[in-house]
Symmetry: C2
Subunit: 379 residues, 2 copies
């Protein structure tokens, strides 16, 4: 199974071996030393001096935590809703009695920071802006840096960013940009199996935690931060995944974030050039994601069919979700993915499109990708 | 590290290898087939015809789910509090605005079902009884079967059992006994790394779900049940842990629950006989746990010292928690543990106690354990 899907992504054999080590006790000095190392390396990845909280959960758990730990029932939040994961913020607000002012963004488009500023001006009661860094359902990167510029000088409003499919894929320097809450998950650009969720909070966000009245227990951020100081987690630590996390973070640190991000940009450019050479249109009109290429299925071709036919070759890409279903397909190039995987996928796609009646000159996409790869030095 | 601790417990090498397989996509037919198999095998383990919900979390997450999915703010619950994990139910009720009527049970004792019946008679508003099957902090098994007899004919009250350290260790036939909610975790008698939580609900409990008004999202039971029907989980499935789960459940089914429980009883008897032969007193006065032996440290010996000295030999047992700290030590024999591990631990304990000034005839405990093991046939 060649996983070119936006999570879960492939896990390197050495990471799998790290996780296959015998279980060690989560209150042992050995494990606490490992957790100490992981805590430091997570700060490097998040580009923050704040604690990065670790939960045994998938990313959605940390998203729920962000709502439950920062707000109270009756509060108002602005939700940037430009895809399936934007909708999740609204659902979470609804569940907790937080009034969600929805800023609808057409699928395939990025939010306009000016529109956010305007809504905040119009309603100073808005306590939080919820957004995705990378909207996985549309392949669009929302302009998080610019959004932080809107929120950082407003004392009563925090910016909460779901970077589940983004962190580790491209730079989202939390402290430098002034992001208040950054949420991530293990199974995408972080090259691990699903099962770990992360959240880091700015000092401003920690102030919000103090006044939040919503119920929380398993995802209690203050409790997690207190345990972290002692190199522990509040409940039993997911030992094996943490061993994998240490392995992955060690590798990321050794290679360096800049090189990893340059590698991803190179793959992304090559993939997008290939699609254009095949006469295909990108679905993401603004800020196409660097970790994901969302493509319009050509007229007369069902996007789901493209996905299904590629699967027969062992290549897993993603289809469209909800309103984009059948209209698009999505090729992820995040995490443990290299040019071999990408070229194989592009080649397979050429064959599949031809078989489905959309005529592509064999090798047209591959040639365009190769040209980009030749021009942009491997990192 | 020889893990004779009540979680995490050792994971078998073949389980580690199962989890080290390449990641497969959680929406693929292959994974859905695996999840289908796991669902069936979980019903076998829980001895229920109901769906067993799976969460990427540790057991505490499913405990929180049991409160948030079954009750509403202002409801009253009876909490059996006879140790550290009993306290957790009270904390959870407090967080969610559920009034917890605490039935305090002295540490080391089991709850008296008649006392529960009396409280339910006195306060018909009590909607749920929260209890541990095996109170890990004291090594006591609460009489869950008898508690179910108290609750099962009361239409307005359900019995919620935390079996995190019990399930897979000894029989807790959910349907037969009439337990309404059974919660479990992966890292104890289930022989997996931490990271999976489980909950199964009786039809009566599902009726309670319908009227519950507490907020829940990640641990939403109804949503999890709906996804399960399609062999999916609501959010990204913890793929590697599920592969491990399939391996473990396959093994459990092949060996058979009865044989596993007989094996555990045999180890438990041998361990307890060894302690008595060494002149030590059990901490658990009623219903000593079959998966855990809690022992009073002899007069003048600090229980924490016993634990620390054994660790120097690579043997990990647990100390006492909260009010039992220093007074006791706890030897777990749950999951992937055999006579070799047990005898090694008993031998190490003899040496450590002698070194700490409590004189034990070398081999006294070992001899007693061997006699039990010889008498009770290996299974």
């Amino acid at each position: 199974m060649y996983l070119m899907t936006p999570g879960p992504t492939p896990v390197a054999p050495e990471t799998n071996l790290a996780m296959a080590q015998p279980i060690i006790h989560h209150r042992s000095p050995l494990f606490m030393e490992i957790l100490g190392e992981v805590r430091a390396d997570l700060k490097y990845l998040f580009e923050t001096e704040q604690e990065v909280l670790i939960f045994a959960a998938t990313g959605t758990g940390a998203m729920e935590g962000a709502v439950a730990n920062l707000l109270s029932a009756g509060d108002t939040a602005l939700v940037v809703d430009g895809g399936k994961f934007g909708e999740r913020w609204t659902e979470l607000c609804n569940v907790y009695g937080v009034k969600a002012e929805r800023l609808a963004v057409p699928w395939g488009r990025a939010v306009d920071p000016k529109a956010v500023a305007k809504m905040l001006d119009a309603n100073p009661a808005i306590k939080a802006v919820f957004v995705q860094a990378n909207e996985t359902s549309t392949g669009v990167q929302h302009p998080v840096k610019e959004l932080a510029e809107v929120t950082k000088n407003r004392a009563g409003t925090i910016l909460v960013v779901d970077a589940i499919s983004a962190l580790g894929g491209y730079a989202i320097p939390m402290d430098k940009w002034g992001i208040d809450v950054l949420v991530a998950g293990s199974q995408k650009a972080m090259m691990l199996p699903p099962g770990l969720a992360f959240a880091a909070l700015s000092p401003k966000a920690w102030e919000f935690v103090k006044t939040s009245k919503l119920p929380k227990y398993y995802f209690n951020f203050a409790k997690a931060a207190k345990s972290a100081e002692k190199n522990q987690t509040p409940y039993t630590s997911p030992v094996s995944l943490i061993l994998g996390l240490r392995e992955v973070l060690g590798k990321i640190k050794k290679v360096g974030l800049e090189k990893i991000y340059a590698h991803n940009r190179r793959l992304s450019k090559a993939c997008k050039a290939a699609m254009q050479a095949m006469g295909l249109e990108l679905y993401s009109k603004d800020y196409p994601s660097v970790v994901l290429t969302a493509v319009m299925a050509p007229a007369g071709v069902d996007g789901q069919k493209v996905v299904a036919e590629l699967r027969k070759k062992g290549i897993w890409i993603a289809g469209g979700q909800a309103e984009a279903k059948g209209k698009i397909f999505r090729i992820a190039h995040m995490g443990f993915i290299d040019t071999v995987d990408l070229l194989g996928t592009i080649g397979g796609l050429e064959e599949v499109l031809n078989a489905l009646g959309y005529k592509v000159q064999p090798g047209a996409g591959l040639k365009a990708a190769q040209e980009v790869l030749a021009k942009e030095a491997a990192v």
